[in-house]
Symmetry: D2
Subunit: 341 residues, 4 copies
């Protein structure tokens, strides 16, 4: 084994930052040198992330560029770009978990507004290993992934491979837990208001659609609901075909071709038992993405369940880091989910 790589986290006080720190602290081949937080500088990490109590003596650093081999940027959308620019100017390889480098500069302009560093957009590799493994390995800048985007892309990739999306309209009905809203305080997130709510909070034009356009070549029509979960995202992808759906055996073939060798993707399609298909409950805390599919008439229904903070954010980021460091891709990511939970 080589010397462990030095890694650092900018903006480590949010939920994604905390999840990333949890993974990095347990990773056998990296050394977490710093985590920054302007608001919490000087505080032990576990004051903000109570699960880390006893696991580290690190305290949050004031916001400054830490020295490291790979820098993770978890700053909010818009703020991250500047941090990334600064790190890249210093020659540091970056994984940016914000939305700032997920799209081409043009697409970014369309969905988010003008990009401050369009030249950096061109350099960035989209950080979904299952779609972009080779580019990530050698990239100096890797983007994070949107959590809803990831559940959509992983459901759709085999369908794109099989040509099943040709001429189709794709409607995605997504459901996500409260951790996707971050840990800033707000009225809508208070327990009495949010508990057991089931709301269509983003009925149309969800920005994560742009990440599907980038990876799968089509723009889905996306509606996102909040559900009673803390962790978890489920995308139900309705593919409306112009003619009869293929036989399920053809879909099996396509999903197997795409995912048989993927360490974190499981095809879950049982005829009996309690848990017959993907469910965020079954992947929470892990880096797994469970996928499935069904055909009826002129429709395919595909689903993908992930933990939004893991495969939908920090887990994929660490997977990218492993690729960048040329170590086994699953290193530090193999914890099995717990059941029941």
């Amino acid at each position: 084994m080589n010397n462990p790589a030095n890694v650092a986290v900018v903006g480590g006080s949010g939920f994604v930052g905390g999840e990333l720190i949890r993974l990095l602290l347990q990773h056998p081949q990296v050394n977490l040198t710093a985590a920054t937080s302007a608001a919490n500088a000087g505080q032990p990490l576990w004051r903000v992330h109570p699960n880390l109590r006893g696991a580290t003596d690190l305290t949050f650093s004031p916001r400054a560029m830490p020295e490291c081999d790979i820098l993770f940027v978890c700053a909010p959308h818009g703020h991250a770009a500047k941090q990334v620019k600064e790190a890249r100017d210093a020659g540091i390889r970056v994984v940016d978990l914000s939305a700032d480098f997920r799209l081409s500069a043009e697409a970014y302009g369309e969905w988010y507004g003008p990009h401050p560093y369009p030249e950096l957009c061109a350099e960035a590799a989209y950080g979904l290993p299952e779609a972009n493994r080779d580019a990530i390995r050698s990239a100096q800048l890797v983007s994070g992934v949107g959590c809803v985007a990831t559940s959509m892309n992983l459901a759709l990739l085999p369908l794109r491979d099989g040509g099943f999306l040709d001429g189709a309209r794709v409607v995605v009905d997504a459901k996500i837990g409260s951790s996707a809203s971050g840990n800033e305080t707000n009225d809508a997130g208070m327990h009495a208001a949010r508990s057991r709510s089931l709301r269509l909070y983003a009925p149309t034009r969800h920005r994560h659609a742009a990440e599907v356009q980038r990876i799968c070549g089509l723009t889905p029509e996306v509606s996102v609901h909040t559900v009673e979960l803390v962790r978890g995202a489920l995308a139900t992808v309705h593919v409306l075909l112009p003619s009869d759906a293929p036989a399920e055996v053809a879909l099996w073939k396509s999903y197997r071709a795409r995912y048989s060798n993927e360490p974190f993707i499981r095809i879950v399609k049982e005829r009996t038992g309690v848990h017959r298909g993907p469910d965020p409950k079954l992947v929470a805390g892990s880096n797994f993405a469970d996928v499935s599919f069904h055909a009826e008439g002129q429709r395919i229904v595909a689903t993908c369940a992930i933990d939004n903070l893991m495969k939908g954010a920090a887990g994929s980021a660490v997977q990218c880091m492993n690729l960048m460091l040329d170590i086994p891709e699953t290193t530090g990511l193999q914890h099995l989910p717990v059941y029941p939970q």
Copy 2:
């Protein structure tokens, strides 16, 4: 006020039966004379329905045809038809909450199998007052409504009225709570397995689509998920149009035209605040159905939230009974939901 009507419930030990009994006990113009249950005969009602403790001294009767003006049948699908036949032969007016009389005999044959009493199907009025009020008033036999069907029909009716469904494909992504599975014990419903689950349990060919065909004239493509709720159903209706969606003002007009005078339908479409659209959390325990709509590109997204045991079952049944008795339609159904819950 006239003398209260005598009513009785056959098959009163399930969740729908319990909800119906709760409403009838509190109804100012009916007298609940009997509730039958073969399995629980002789037991006080509150042994099965603990919320009724202290509210009634009634005990469950053995299964036999009670004398009454209106009989509610809550027997399981398939068993109900025989009870209904017997009651109709005795000249008793019936509200049947099972699926046995919701469809024409032909449609029933297609979705459920051969109907034992096709002639009774022809006589039955579909029990959704918002769609079928006049027929219900004078009917001798009124069907219940499917809970998912009701959330779909109430979301779609104004769109049908406005001609917005012409040439459209309709995909429904529905979400329901655990009470919709009834109170029979089973592995999938155990708390440790079911808690916080988010499963696509019925991906295709859901029978409630047939009730939409009956009321709205098209057959939606329906996928139903379980979510972490006990009570509640939300239908997210994706209407895929062949051309650009109408302006939202046109949709407002259509929803208002249909629902302005409906006592139990609320259009919920706010731009600010915590609760901007329909959410089962906001109607639980009440007979309200909250609806909303959004337009994007060539798609309309409409939603409807109900309490599956109320507007989706017992509440609509009592509303039908009020119509049949020619008393104000809202009698006994005006309890406001509680918030927060």
Copy 3:
């Protein structure tokens, strides 16, 4: 029936205020003339209390003393006293749901600090009808009740009557839902942090102990936990006796003597079935308080489950109002809880 009484609510934008408004709107013998809220003046009530949508056209008034026969004060502790003083000076009868008039001036001083209007304390009747019915009837000022206090007092009253508390130490382990913290935004109440939490948030010296001292004559040692509930409070009262506990038949006798004629108290003590004892799940949304008891060695364990916003706040307040208006005590409070929920 006499003319309905005019009632108004000061400070109607919190959870207790909303619950009170819900009850008053549905009450057949009162007329809600105004609800004040400085922060929400001019807004429809349903913007703050979404369950009231469609139920009223009232808007919040700016904070000023409304004209009415009975005024409910729902201002925060400390602020309420001034409102009450002003109303009493104007000769208006008041039910104050804050903690400001629950104790004698002396006891208030000990638990909360110096009281601004000690003379009003002497005039106030403690607003728990089951303990203080006669005084409430004729009172000009009635206090609210603490939710945890109510669950403790209702569990303990029969034990005090029976002399079972003589020489005993009383430890109360209470559990409450998130609505008890009100609808102000705060970190600890955010869904991701609060969901499924089980915390001993008030380990010692809980102020509601003073209300038990007032009613039952002893000061319990109280520890309060948050649990995963929005509504509900359960007090588990451990009575540690100096000698052997009485036979359960003696306890039955005492609870029956105290509660047989109480319309809102149910003794729940079953040997079989799913729901064998008090559970907030079974009373949520209603004014019921369910109580039970067990004896072992030198210990009695008594429990009381209530809805903290109903019997623990607004429900008891309306019950007091009914007494003050000399109308049947259960008027407007008889809604049965729903099950399952």
Copy 4:
């Protein structure tokens, strides 16, 4: 590193068995050779434990004695004893997770009934490393621990050490999640009935009190509640003293003395922040036990939060196995909990 030890699980289809298998599959120094289940023989493990999908190709064996260095017995109470006897007769070292060997034969007789193999009871080491580490190392038979017992013992041990229990009465008010009831189907465990319930299901004479008697030398008076959790147990231990409680600094000293070097025990006692004390939410999925304490008047309130399937069952069992194999005690148990969850 030596060769990995061979281990096997008898009765691997319950929740505890599944949790144990999860830990053993991820353990770097053992090799899981077999898991038996009469009912599921021939089925892949993941059919019963869906979190294990993709993690192992093992199938359940029919019930027979597997060859191994250490055998885990997860059979139900009463059935386990026979399995243990057979394994011990074959010279296999055993960790028995049932209640069958937690007590002396005499105490077992008092709480459970006559023991079939009293001579084996004498041989068994109680499987709580924090209380019995040395005996476990060399034992041929190690018992499991009760989950409520563990939360009580870990809260109480420092108090016993400090002499703070002398002359005291100890009342324990415990709260546990639904996974503690196992995965057998039953009415009370159905989601609609169990969801958000808060019931005192075991008011008196809980058998786990006997394990406290064994470890701490006194018999607490225990009442156990179900709460809305799948995983987790919290014991709130009320120590009623005959005279004034010690200063908290003395308690700090005692807890630190006992636990400073314990890898899985964390003292959680903060004055600010969201998570100020033990909460099962913060340890779920991990082997941590968080403890705290408060003093008031003549009472100490101590709490301990664990994951009932981990520190309360399978986690402690693996910790014992590590001791028996003379490898670092934390091996395979260091996964940090996730937050938020």
